[in-house]
Structure formats: C-alpha cells, structure tokens
Symmetry: C3
Subunit: 363 residues, 3 copies
C-alpha cells in the first residue's frame, strides 16, 4: 500500500499551525539572512518570525548578534527600517532608552530611582550562529549548537564556498498556502513535465538522484540534459564554475530542504536561496535570493537576469499550484491521497512532521 498525504488539519487548522510555528520556527535554528548583508559594525536588518521582529546586527568583525526588537522600558519596537546602520548604539525612538550593540542598557533618562539597575534591563537576546555566510537564529534561551542541526551539511557543501558569494537579486513572494506545501513542492520533480516545461528541458525529471533522508534535511541532485550547463533561460552558465567545485559538482544542481525554512539550491555557477516565513496556516512569505561569485559580478557586462527570470517564472508556476492544493485540501471531500515512489522525500518530510509533533520538539 502506498503511503498517503497528511490529513487536512495539517494544512487548515489554525491552532495546529500555531503549534507548528512554535515547534518548528521558534524552537529550531532558522535561516534568517546573510552575513554579507551586514559587513560593518552597526549594520543591521530586521527579520519577522510570526509576530516577532528580530534585530540582526553586526557587533564586530567577529560577532553577529540578534535581539528581540522590543524596548525594555515600555515595549516599543526600536528599529523600524528593514535595514540600516546603527551608529554604535541602539536607541528607542520613544523615550530614548539606549543600548550598546552588545545589548546592554547604557542610557535610561530619568530612571535614577532606588531599585533600578541598568544591568537588569539588557535587550532580550536571540541566539545567532553563522554557517558559511548563512545567519541562523534560535528563539529559545539556551539552544543546542547549530552544528547539531546542520549535521554533515557543512562538509557536503564546502566546495561551493557559500560564504564568499554576493547577493545579486532578491524577490519576495506572498503565497496563499501552508509552509509545508512549499517544502513538499520543492522536493519532487514529478510535477515538472506538466508544470515547468522550460525547467524540464534542462534536467530530466526522472533523473533525480535523491539522498537517503537525513534527520534535519532532505534533498538530492539532478544532472543536466544535453548541453545544458546550469538552470537559466538559455541553459548556459552566467559566470565561471564556482572555483572549488569538482568536475562532478559542475554537472548537477543540488536541491536541499533544510528544515524548517531553508531551500538551498546550489548550481555550478550560483546559489539560490528560498527562506520560508509562515504568516498564517494558509499564507507563507517566501524570500528568494540569487547569489553569484564576486569575480563574476565585478566583470563588465555581468548579467544575472537569465537565471533570475528562469527561476522567477518557475517559482510563480509553483506558487500557483500550491495555492490550488491549499484551496482543495480545505474541502470536506479531501482525503489523504497516495504518494508515488517519485515522492519519497515528501514521505520522509511528513514523517518528520509527525515525529516532532509526537515528541513535542522542534528540528
């Protein structure tokens, strides 16, 4: 008997969604952005997780810190611009409470009263760790190290030297579908012939080389068809092969869904990232970024649009169909349907979701 898809409540129950948000997004390491976005001390960006706003700031060349964007005085959000540079301190716009980049309260006007100590009111910290340029956050107070969650990924993808790549383009999508439908969509190419005719010309949907599911991620690679060299409108590379890749790594794309929110797509000549930001049981924001090698980007005439447009079109095809799934699963007529062997990674992901629910823990 084939394994079947999850019951409808996993895609439609707002209360179960809140539990999942807690379990997978507030109690796991989530990928929040790139160190290259904040090169200098004081540079910061904001990231929303559910109703939370997090300030991710470079404290020093060696240290990235993150804080809840909440003043300890009267709870006001401190930073409002999505990104910017803080001049060595973080000041609340309401009454001027001021914190150092290390989160310590250094100024609190008119609080010279008995029983008040600056040391009692630092910004609430969020754990932050970096893997090869990716900044991960963990909202729990004393999380396990990021390396536990990443397992063998740093070794597996070392040759792409991701930390050295540079952002070329970011597109933000609002998708009216549950976050899990996006992960499931990403992890099978059975839909490619019908939904993605352009993509299907570059890689053979039956040629996916899936790895055995790991505890905290799933994925695999696909070799190119014919003369295709990368995923782009014309199938030709945008730049040189990334410098440390092996010959074998130059001939495929690696697609990995790193639980709970990073879809990492490594091409011979560039890196594409999707991060997922659940907004409601049936709404997910997707931030998609294309990163290239600086040596390519610095060449006169560099043009990444062929890769961007290719995936933008593919993204839109995917978002449309997962929105149709979301709508259909809400029907009283929906019953779990059978997976084919080509959807084996989805079965592993579903099992992961069920296991963590039963265990009551995150990734």
């Amino acid at each position: 008997m084939p394994r079947h898809t999850l019951p409808a409540r996993y895609y439609t129950d707002e209360s179960l969604f809140q539990d999942e948000l807690e379990r997978f997004y507030c109690n796991s390491w989530i990928c929040a952005g790139r160190t290259a976005a904040i090169p200098n001390a004081g540079d910061y960006f904001l990231r929303d997780v559910g109703v939370e706003s997090i300030i991710v700031v470079r404290e020093s060349s060696a240290s990235v810190r993150a804080y809840f964007n909440v003043c300890r005085h009267r709870g006001t959000r401190i930073c409002t611009a999505n990104e910017g540079r803080l001049s060595g301190r973080i000041q609340c716009p309401y009454h001027g409470w001021t914190y150092g980049l290390n989160g310590q309260l250094i100024g609190a006007p008119h609080m010279d009263v008995p029983g008040f100590a600056h040391g009692d009111y630092p910004l609430h910290a969020v754990a932050a760790e970096v893997w090869d340029g990716h900044i991960f956050l963990h909202l729990e107070k004393s999380p396990p190290p990021l390396s536990d969650q990443l397992a063998d990924l740093p070794v597996k993808f070392a040759n792409w030297q991701m930390g050295g790549l540079r952002l070329h383009k970011r597109i933000v999508y609002e998708v009216k579908a549950n976050w899990k439908l996006l992960i499931q969509n990403y992890n099978e190419c059975l839909h490619c012939p019908l939904l993605h005719p352009a993509l299907n010309q570059l890689t053979e949907y039956l040629g996916a080389d899936n790895e055995p599911p790991a505890d905290t991620y799933i994925g695999g690679s696909m070799g190119f068809r014919g003369s295709a060299e990368t995923m782009s409108l014309c199938g030709k590379r945008v730049g040189e092969f990334l410098p440390a890749l092996t010959d074998a790594e130059c001939k495929k794309v690696c697609y990995h869904a790193i639980y709970p929110n990073l879809l990492l797509s490594l091409h011979p000549d560039y890196m594409m990232l999707h991060t997922l930001w659940p907004k409601a049981v049936d709404h997910t924001q997707v931030i998609c970024e294309w990163h290239f090698h600086p040596a390519d980007m610095d060449k006169p005439g560099f043009d990444g649009s062929d890769a961007v447009q290719f995936w933008d079109q593919t993204n839109l095809e995917d978002w449309r169909v997962v929105e149709l799934s979301q709508a259909g699963i809400q029907s009283r007529a929906y019953t779990p349907g059978p997976y084919s062997p080509r959807e084996s990674l989805l079965q592993a992901f579903d099992q992961f979701v069920l296991d963590r629910e039963r265990e009551g823990k995150g990734v």
Copy 2:
C-alpha cells in the same frame, strides 16, 4: 399578539451560521445554474458553496454530473477557470492525474505500485439533478430525490417552459447581510411604497396574492396596475408572452422563494433568478440572471435592458436596506419586533428555520 422577528443570534452568530450553512446549503438541494450554460459534452462551470468548489459538467446529452474540485492525489483544485470546455477528460495541472467525464480515474503517472488500484480513486461525486433547465446539487452522499423537495412546483410552473429560455444577462452582487434577510426582504412588498417607488407604480403592494406556505417554498403573485404588462422601466413587455402561458398567467408576476437559495421571479415575458451564496454570517453573494425566450432574443433589435435596469435598481435598493438591517440587528438594543399581517410569509420562513434547526435537518 403579533409574531416577532427572530432573535439577533440568527443574524450575528458565526457558529450558528456555520450550522445553517451545513443544514440548509450542504444538506439540501441547492440551485446551482442552468443546463443551457453547458450545452455540449465537456462543457463545465464551477460553483462555490462555502469553502467548497464544485465542477458541474455535461457528461453527455442526457447527463449532467458534478464533482468536488479536488484531485484524489494531493488534494489540488483541478479546474480554475470559472467556466470552459474539457476535452473529454479532466486533468489535474499538478501531476497530471486524469479523470473521465464520468469521474473515473484513467491516468495516474508513476502509480504502478502494489496496492494501488485506479478504481479506488474516482473524483468525489456531488449529486446533480435537473428541473426544467435548473441544475440542483446536493452535497450529501445519498440524498432524497429532488422531486421531494420541489413538491408541486414543476406542475405549477410548467407553462413557463423554463427549460427553453436563454440567458441574457448576469449580475453578481456582494451583500453585507445574512442570507435570511434577503429571503425575508423578497417575500413582502410592505416596503415597496417607500423603498421602490418605480416598482410600486407597476404593481399594487397591497395586491399581493400569497399562497399558503408550502414545506419547502413560499410565494405568491402580484397583478399589474393600469396598463403595465411586465416589470421593466417602462412597464411594457420586452418580448412576446411566453408561448404556453394562460391568459391569467400573462397578467401577473409570480415570486417564489424556493428554499434555501433560489428566488424565482416569473414574468409574462421573461424569467429572473436570484441564487443566494452565503459567504459569512453577514455576507451573501447574490447571482441575478435574466432569461428570455430565444425567439425574442433572435429578433433584430431585441433589447432586454429595460427589464435588467429596472430590477438592477430595485436590487440595489433592497441590498442597501438589508445591509442596514444587518447592522442594526447587531446592536445590544435590538429585540425581536412585531410582524404585521403583510409579513405573513416571513413568519412562515422563520418557523421553517426554527423547525429545521430543532429537527437537525435541511430542506
């Protein structure tokens, strides 16, 4: 003592609304559209009932079928355009599962696995029956025949030969009011002198000839005033008298609210339909259609706009005032108010609503 209107909760309680949606719209025959809209095999239209999307499709010259718009593979909505023609098969856009017009699964890529049988995965059927060109749906698995619900209506309205009429115009309205307020508004003309001065010139509001309330519908007829011949801006007929009408039937308009969602307005020369589609406790979509005789419509210079504009104006007057009722009933000061004898059909409808609630069954 006069009978009083329903307590506020029947118009404001979202949970009671969900119960009513279940009771009256998912557990009754509801009017969904016209056979003339899908003349050829493969022609279809979609109809939403609450969160459900239903595919209504012509299987053959003799057979109209309806299905939940939900693929049996991963729950995806299959059809997206509101209407169109299917080339003999119904194919899901995601992974290509394919069904015949009879709902049977005829193709499921890569599902050649032990334990999988195509016969186990037909589209989930929705019961569909036809009365004189009106397609009715029933979302329960084994509903009673439509004829039980229609009772004597097919005989009563046989002379209008509704099945032979043709759509001239459709207007869709979004009304911020409970569905029952629309039925109540339709079933009394006590409000006509103040609210509908144009309508009141054509028919005498005190001249309504109401029939004794039936189990599944209420209604009556109104004769014309003076030289009026039909309901239109000028009061003159748009076409010939419908061919099989008796003299008496040529001199009146018949208004019937057929529970739960069809308001059938039969004129000497045309048919107007309102179907009600509850969206929330305080929101109802109304689809209003005008149907004429093909012989009239095929004449050079045919112009139905006089009838359309007359009722469009009247509709808007009605929607505005029922929205005011909806707003007022939400007040803590609202208490049920007394009905006059001119509102006797509303009393019958209210009783119907209360009886079915008590019995826990639909129409």
Copy 3:
C-alpha cells in the same frame, strides 16, 4: 522599586478588550460631541460606540436626546448620513415606522392588529447629559448623574467658557494601537524632547505641573518657554486670550485625560479635543477637533491653521510611536518595564484600570 507597565494581555487580548469596552465605554459617561453641532430642533449626528450606532439629536432648545439607531420593527438602522436635520420625526427607510424626536412611535403602517400598542415600541433611549457644550452619553439604562463622574472639573475649567466656543477643524485618525496606549502617551512629556522637537521648543518637558490623580481623570498644566504664547507652529496666539481667563491661566496649557475617552487640551486662545473610539484591541479611532472663540473666528483674515498644523504633526508623531509600542508589546519577549517618576500619571491610570477591573465597574 519602580512600578512597572501593565502585562501584555491588557494590550493584546481581544477578550479582555471586549470586557474593557463594556466596562469603560458602555458603562461610563463618554464624551460624544458638541451641542453646537446640533443647534436647531431636529439636527442630529451619529456616533459609533463599538458596534453600536447612536443618534444624538436636538429635541428642543433645552433638550438633547440620544437613541440607539435601531428600528423597533425589524431592527434596521434608521439614520445613515453621519449628520443632518430630521424634519420633526425620525422615519425608518424600510417600512416607514416613524418616531417623534422624543422617541415615541407615532406611525407603524399596517400594525392595526390585536395586541399591538404604539406605546410599547419607542426608540431605545441612551442617556445624554451636557457639560459646558460637551455632550456625554451613557449606554446603561439608569446611569448615575454625569456630575458624579466630572467631580470638580466644571469648576476647574469654568473660565474657559467652553460652551461658547465654535468648531474650526476636525481630523479623524485611525491608530493601530490599544486605546490605553493613547491615554498613556498623552499623560507624559518625557518623550517630548526626542519625539516632538517642535513642541519641545514651546514648553519645557520637565516643567509639567501635574495635579494629584483624581478618581476619574488625570492631568496637569505646562507653562510656556520664552516668548511662546500658545501651542502653534510659530508659538503666537491665533486669537485673543479667551475672555474670562485669569492671568495665570493665560500662561499655560492644561492637559487632562477625562476617563475613558476625552483628552481635553485647553490653550489660552483655543480648545483642542481628542475623543477616543476603540475599534479593536489594537485599533482606536481618534477624533481631534480645534475650537476657537466665535469673536476671533468672525474676524476677517482669521486663520487657525497654525494651531491645527502644529498639533496634526504632533499627533502623527504620537500615533506612529504608540503603534510601535503596540507591535512590540505583542512580542513573547515583552515583560512589564519600569516607570520613571516622570510617568507618575500613567501609574495612576494603570491603577485605575486594574481597580475597575477588580471591582467590575466602569468609570
């Protein structure tokens, strides 16, 4: 130990908000508008309180009345325009039930049936009382007199002769914040140096002369800096000093938050009013009005824009920052923070909120 701000639920819990709406807005005298807005018999305006619509109408030169905007027949809202003049009677647009300005039912078409008496169906009255031109409403049936709630305010502000002032300008703001955050924001100037540089030039934020908190209001006054004469862009008076003010009253602005919804700002030459209208736990409508002396307004070349623009800018600065507080308080990281001595009125207000919650009564 400094006193701390309220727990997050007072700003984020929808159910607690509904309780507060009931306690403070439906079970207290609330300021609804000005008698000058309805000078002649039949003049009326509508005021929304939560989901309630209230008709405030002048019955006679001596009497202002208020009614729930709900017809006793079928619950329909009777008046729809926000303000206007009724020709001696109040008629429902649906079936023509008609009431006198005193609320008595005087016409009910076709209700000549046994057991129906016009006297049984007056409009539901809302208590209305007037203080120096301010109309207050109370939604309870037999409220205590307004004078209990106002205490010594009529004496304290008698010299401003508020009843004789005339509306110059009204601006309505929608603020995405809890109503209490607006009252708290109004009652301290600790935020002025950072948030309101223009305002801070006219009054010294450390110079606030707060009165001891009263049972039903809090407030104080601020003297002007340097050559400033009033609060306006240029700091100069818009008109003459209000005629009955003492010298001392000419040299300050009085700011009082009169629970639950009136922020009364008395200037040497004009009056500014904010009334608060909670729409949701995180949404408040603010109606801000500027009233001047008729003698000034009747002078050629009168121009109140300097005062209007000054406060409009200040208002927008305040709304923006309270919206940031609302957003931040929703965070899991929010914990009550410490008040400084400069925020003593806020502590009194918080205590008032807690006391009335414990006692289960309004203002």
